[in-house]
């Protein structure tokens, strides 16, 4: 997958509004590989909706979203499974970790189906993010900030052409945010992928190619 295009896209909930003033909604917008985008948004402007649409989780929008030239509303379940395994990575704002499993198991449950990262690499990331002692701790017992770091590691355990990170550092201090940004960019550059970061204020300090206001 080389590009993601939004053509006149608008969430159905905004359909009644006529004051939509956005760089994303109702525009013709294309995300390209190897570029870094920041989508800045206020609450309630559809940031999480955007991620859900791109990931085939929700379809309540008008207009079109294209992967290369394919309209994603036509994708089958099988195609979405393949895209989620091989082309698109998403760090959900609500993380979507499994509280019953340990931090390591949460990462492995993803890495088991992609076989993308080695155990050493995963352990190195745990170390870099300052939670090496938490690998065997249950996610349910960890703080949200710690969970965000585990979720980031899990997000990177797959091949991808684009990676979405939805408010990845909302509960992190500056130092950890910087490390997280480094890890994300290193992996994205290694894979030649496009990166789309969203934020409602605090955002990772990176060299963004384009900043969009939602």
């Amino acid at each position: 997958m080389e590009t993601i295009s939004l053509q006149n896209t608008l969430p159905n909930v905004f359909a009644q509004r006529n004051d939509v003033d956005s760089d994303v909604w109702l525009q013709n917008l294309t995300f390209e590989k190897q570029k870094l985008y920041l989508v800045e948004a206020n609450s309630g402007t559809g940031k999480s909706s955007l991620c859900s649409y791109m990931f085939g989780y929700r379809h309540d929008y008008s207009g079109k979203i294209l992967f290369d030239k394919d309209d994603i509303s036509q994708y089958s379940v099988g195609q979405w499974v393949k895209i989620r395994q091989k082309s698109l990575a998403l760090l959900w704002q609500e993380l979507r970790l499994f509280p019953e499993l340990t931090a390591m198991e949460n990462v492995e449950i993803k890495n088991n189906i992609t076989g993308c990262q080695t155990k050493e690499q995963i352990l190195r990331w745990f170390e870099m993010l300052g939670i090496p002692d938490k690998t065997d701790a249950l996610i349910g017992r960890m703080s949200f900030g710690q969970q965000q770091r585990v979720a980031m590691i899990r997000t990177l355990c797959q091949p991808f052409d684009f990676v979405f990170v939805d408010e990845p550092i909302s509960h992190l201090d500056d130092s950890n945010s910087r490390i997280m940004g480094d890890i994300l960019m290193t992996e994205a550059n290694k894979q030649g992928a496009g990166v789309i970061v969203t934020s409602i204020g605090k955002h990772m300090d990176l060299k963004y190619d384009k900043i969009l206001k939602l």
């Binding site: 859900s52 990931f55 989780y57 929700r58 379809h59 379940v77 099988g78 499974v81 989620r84 395994q85 998403l90 959900w92 979507r96 970790l97 499994f98 019953e100 499993l101 198991e105 492995e108 449950i109 993803k110 088991n112 189906i113 992609t114 899990r154 797959q158």
Partner: protein, 397 residues
């Protein structure tokens, strides 16, 4: 690891409930099938000489026919009409002897029983005796004979009882030879009769058809009498058309035989009802299982959704639950088989007491039915689980 996630919220009591209910249903179904197979052998095995679905038909004899001298024989058109009926698979005529027969039983040196009698014959394909026993070659003076079983009873419980004579078993009679004297057409010959079997359904003294054909032309003028009795192979003795046809034409058949088929019919019906109960219980059990799996999927909804969102396919996510249900089904089937064998051993012991000569029928049919049900139920489970998981995928759309 997925299992570690998805086994959360599994309700042991619900699955135990399914397990027991399905077990009861399955045992009832399997036992029904097996019991039917076993009793079927009792019914068909009772009279080895006559296959089960043969009927003997004759015209009703009433005072009027006796007085008017109206023939009780079947005319040619009547025979043709009978053969055309749908319920008739095959038809054969009884040929009666046109010569005099006298038989002498040599019980011991002192006692002789001598009696005038007659022979009848039916086409060989209606007689179920080993073919080497049931043959006649011209010039050989040995003659195979099938006797009605009640002749033996008459002798044993009437004659022998009153005269203090030894009682005879079927086995011994097979060894004893009868002296048979045949007279007619100016000829008079001695034959040795060998009893090859007893029939409780066929109330006549049977000899092979080839002998009868030859003897009728040799000891009589060869002019064959019109048959007065017919033997029919029917596809279903309980067929209504059969009964009405016989009534309309004023024919009658051996009531005994129809009674036996009625009993078989009743048995079949009872087993059918019992098995339907088993099927209903199994269906309810299946319903309980589906409900608890649905509930489980509902409770684990978020987990399943998250698994799908990190790239698991619906098929992969369904698999643990599918394996769980299939495992339960297999376990139920295995235990049901064990229970069936145990119960069967108990009732077969009783059967053996009633019918010692009975061969033990195979269990292949009930095994096949069990496996068939397993496949059906498991397929339904697998599809239902997959559909349910797939519905999570589609929920947001």
């Amino acid at each position: 690891m997925i299992w570690k996630l998805l086994r959360q919220h599994i309700s042991i009591p619900q699955f135990l409930g399914f397990f027991l209910a399905n077990l009861v249903g399955m045992v009832i179904i399997l036992l029904g099938v097996q019991f039917y197979t076993d009793t079927q052998a009792v019914y068909t095995g009772e009279d080895s000489f006559m296959k089960s679905d043969y009927l003997i038909v004759n015209k009703k004899i009433s005072a009027v026919t006796t007085l008017t001298g109206k023939s009780s024989a079947f005319s040619h058109p009547e025979l043709q009409d009978m053969e055309r009926q749908k319920f008739v698979e095959r038809m054969g005529c009884f040929t009666s002897s046109a010569f005099d027969v006298n038989a002498t039983f040599d019980l011991d040196q002192m006692t002789n029983i001598s009696t005038d009698m007659f022979f009848e014959a039916v086409p060989d394909e209606f007689v179920d005796v080993k073919s080497e026993d049931w043959t006649f070659r011209q010039g050989v003076k040995e003659l195979p004979i099938i006797l009605p079983r009640n002749y033996l009873d008459l002798y044993n419980f009437g004659y022998a009882q009153s005269r203090n004579m030894p009682k005879l078993s079927e086995g011994i009679l097979g060894v004893i030879k009868l002296k048979i004297n045949i007279r007619g057409n100016g000829r008079n010959d001695e034959y040795v009769g060998r009893i090859v079997g007893f029939s409780s359904r066929l109330n006549t003294i049977l000899v092979p058809q080839p002998f009868m054909d030859w003897a009728n032309s040799y000891y009589a003028d060869g002019k064959s009498n019109a048959p007065t009795r017919l033997i029919l192979e029917v596809n279903n003795p309980t067929d209504e058309h059969l009964t009405t046809y016989l009534q309309d034409n004023n024919y009658e058949t051996d009531q005994d035989k129809l009674d036996a088929s009625k009993t078989t019919f009743m048995l079949r019906m009872i087993v059918g009802i019992v098995m339907s109960v088993g099927v209903v219980i199994s269906l309810l059990a299946l319903y309980v299982l589906m409900l608890s799996v649905y509930l489980l999927v509902e409770k684990n909804n978020t987990k399943l959704e998250n698994l799908l969102l990190i790239g698991y396919s619906p098929a992969r996510v369904s698999r643990p639950y599918q394996i769980l249900t299939i495992g339960l089904n297999v376990l139920v089937l295995l235990i049901a088989f064990v229970v069936m064998f145990v119960v069967r051993n108990i009732y077969m012991e009783m059967f053996q007491n009633f019918f010692p000569e009975l061969e033990t029928p195979s269990v292949a049919l009930s095994l096949a039915v069990g496996l068939f049900l397993l496949v059906i139920v498991s397929t339904v489970n697998v599809i239902a689980v997959y559909t349910k998981v797939k519905s999570i995928w589609n929920r947001k759309s």
